[in-house]
């Protein structure tokens, strides 16, 4: 059960430590069921922290999004820890970053929040449109209770939960320094049914499906920027010489962009679904990522973001890897 008081106390204690720079959690957004990442630097700021079905953001992104600006001469970099609140999926992102040595274990303090599933904002806003004021929600006996201006409204999880949560295999953080409350039961087993469904179509049908989606892309790169696994200092998509992917917006470059983005996550994507959530034009990016996740699981029995001691999929091999496709 979510215990907000415990969460706030833990946060206050954490940010009071000398070796902690700040804590990243969630706070109520400015309107409706929006939530914003909350950076807690002083103990009193912990009061605003929340944890509810609205906390969709994967905060692990901020571990690798930190700007490393050149320091004035003689100044030392701030090497204090960053404390991070994680759901199950978020914790896998942290573990994958550790596997790839994108971050150091001693630079992060993981506070685990076992999670009963977060909402799909689109589904909720369709149900409860036009809420100019902030509104909250909570879990309650398998349902989600929305606090609306005209009273509480209880909705079954199946109607409002994000697709990734309905088949979630890892609701509990896989690695923590502090677990805030008891673990929740694992809900589903992901069989990748949506992927199998698309695979069953003919190549022409699949292309028509993706052509429509890719051509609506506006190349805002929010999918790349929000991804906790996209943290190259110099992204191949920003390169101009050589230009791997031209900046112009047309089906050719957009497809190249989406193939490059998806492929760079092969064996790395921890399926938090952030890319799909943030896409302003609703491209089903998880259908690309999950296809690769499915192949990685089937071909190499590899699931990213679970074992910090494991080696990244694409920088390791087994001599007997399948090669039935090779002539």
């Amino acid at each position: 059960m979510v215990d907000l008081e415990k969460l706030k106390t833990a946060a206050r204690e954490t940010v009071s430590r000398d070796d902690v720079k700040y804590l990243i959690g969630w706070r109520q957004g400015t309107y409706g069921f929006r939530v914003s990442p909350h950076f807690v630097k002083e103990p009193e700021e912990a009061e605003k922290l929340i944890f509810s079905p609205l906390c969709t953001n994967n905060l692990a992104t901020y571990l690798v999004l930190t700007e490393r600006l050149p320091l004035p001469r003689g100044e030392q970099p701030d090497s204090r820890k960053v404390a991070l609140m994680v759901k199950g999926c978020d914790s896998r992102a942290v573990v994958q970053q550790l596997i790839e040595q994108g971050i150091k274990r001693e630079s992060v303090l993981i506070i685990g929040c076992p999670c009963e599933g977060v909402i799909d904002l689109k589904k909720v806003e369709e149900k409860f449109p036009h809420l100019p004021g902030p509104a909250q929600a909570r879990w309650s006996n398998g349902n989600i209770v929305f606090h609306l201006p005209d009273g509480d409204k209880e909705v079954p999880k199946g109607e409002v939960l994000a697709a990734k949560c309905l088949s979630c295999r890892y609701p509990n953080p896989v690695m923590t320094d502090l677990m805030l409350w008891e673990e929740v039961q694992t809900r589903g087993n992901d069989e990748y049914d949506d992927i199998t469904e698309l695979e069953a179509k003919s190549p022409q049908e699949r292309w028509l499906f993706w052509e429509d989606k890719f051509s609506s892309c506006i190349r805002c790169y929010s999918c790349r920027n929000v991804c906790p696994m996209c943290y190259c200092e110099d992204c191949v998509l920003d390169r101009l010489n050589p230009a791997w992917v031209f900046r112009s917006n047309n089906i050719s470059e957009n497809t190249a962009f989406h193939l490059a983005r998806a492929f760079h996550l092969a064996g790395r994507c921890i399926e938090c679904g952030e890319c799909e959530r943030v896409c302003p034009v609703g491209i089903p990016l998880m259908k690309l990522n999950r296809k690769l996740a499915k192949e990685v699981k089937e071909k190499y029995e590899y699931i990213p973001g679970l074992d910090p001691e494991s080696k990244p999929l694409q920088s390791s091999y087994r001599p007997d890897d399948k090669e039935d496709f090779i002539l």
Binding site: G29, T30, Y31, G32, R34, V35, S36, P37, F39, N57, T61, Y62, L65, E67, L69, P129, H130, L131, P132, D212, K213, S215, S216, I218, R219, C220, Y221, S222, R224, N225, V226, D238, L240, A243, F246, R247, S248, N249, N250, E274, R277, V278, P280, V281, G282, I283
Partner: protein, 339 residues
């Protein structure tokens, strides 16, 4: 100017005539997003929206646009062909105001022939906004649900019919080309439209008093508010690419074999490459400087240069920001800090 009435059962004919006269763009679904696209056989206009996902600037100032083409080893270059006359139907008053605002930029010190020609060739038919969205705040920045600024004609849905109010000669011409479909509008119709838009304006729930903000912003250059608000910024281009008044572009050469083109494409001040110098130095190295620039550009620099706020209150940047960076929140903090 002229006011006429178009009964709804003649609406189909009206659109058919328009599409024969000029290239007609209406809001249509592409993938999951709504944007202005040319009418083709079987395409369905989608008018039941607070606003399109992609603003109509994508037609007048396309995301990618060829400036000229060239061939390797040859100094000749060829310009893109003359455009064609087009009509955009269903433009919301806020987006039309945005075009009026962008006009002043593209005809500032140097006329931009690409944009201005296209603007000249385009007739904007607006649709009064009777169901404002959650984050609409056009009334705070000088607009309104039935504002006609930037439009050539405004249509208002009266239930059984549309009220047509022409604003410019381009709008007049449209009316003159379909006399058989139109009736005279009565004083009651005008009153009804007025009432509808007033009711819509009342329903706009969010807003801010912008008085004094342009003057206050320069004094807040080093204020911690920028860092606070941009801490969670991902540095993506949603807020700028989908802003109807954002007009920054990048110019690139693209080669295909021995042929090439110079083209311009949308760029975003929220990207770090936007200000990156060839030397490697970046004058806006972090996200808080970039957020500060975005707000300042809309609410301070543009006001200084053109006398108007470059924000029309369409609410897209608030609706679509993945981390809930809310420009109204930033502005209200600006007001508080500046006292």
């Amino acid at each position: 100017m002229d006011t006429k009435k178009l009964s709804k059962d003649k609406f189909g004919d009206f659109m058919a005539i328009l599409s024969r006269q000029k290239k007609l763009y209406v809001p249509q679904k592409e993938g999951e997003s709504l944007r202005f696209a040319p009418v083709t056989a079987g395409s369905q206009p989608d008018l039941a929206f607070p606003n399109t996902t992609v603003p109509p600037k994508s037609v007048l100032f396309p995301q990618t646009e060829t400036l000229y083409q060239f061939e390797q080893g040859n100094t000749d270059m060829s310009l893109p062909g003359e455009g064609e006359e087009r009509v955009l139907f269903g433009v919301r008053p806020c987006d039309a105001r945005a075009m009026a605002i962008v006009d002043s930029l593209f005809s500032w010190d140097v006329d931009d022939p690409y944009y201005l020609t296209r603007r000249e060739q385009t007739t904007l038919l607006g649709l009064s906004c009777l169901e404002p969205g959650t984050n609409c705040f056009c009334t705070s920045v000088g607009g309104g649900p039935a504002s006609t600024e930037g439009l050539d004609m405004l249509l208002t849905d009266l239930g059984e019919a549309f009220l047509l109010q022409t604003v410019t000669e381009k709008g007049e011409k449209i009316i003159q080309s379909v006399p058989e479909l139109l009736e005279e509008a009565t004083a009651e119709d005008l009153k009804a439209a007025e009432k509808l838009s007033q009711e819509a304006a009342v329903r706009i729930a969010r807003g801010i008093d912008t008085d004094g903000i342009p003057e206050k912003l320069p004094g807040l250059w080093e204020n911690p508010l920028w860092k606070d608000f941009s801490e969670s910024c991902l540095g993506c281009g949603i807020c700028t690419f989908l802003c109807p008044t954002c007009h920054c572009f990048d110019i690139q050469d693209e080669m295909e074999g021995f042929e090439g083109r110079r083209c311009r494409m949308w760029d975003s001040c929220m990207f770090s490459e936007y200000t990156l110098h060839a030397s490697g130095h970046n004058p806006r190295p972090s996200r808080h400087e970039r957020t500060r620039n975005r707000v300042n550009h809309k609410y301070s620099y543009f006001v200084k240069n053109f006398g108007t706020i470059a924000c029309v209150g369409c609410g897209r940047c608030i609706n679509l920001c993945p981390v809930n960076i809310d420009i109204l929140n930033i502005l209200s903090q600006v007001v508080k800090e500046a006292i």
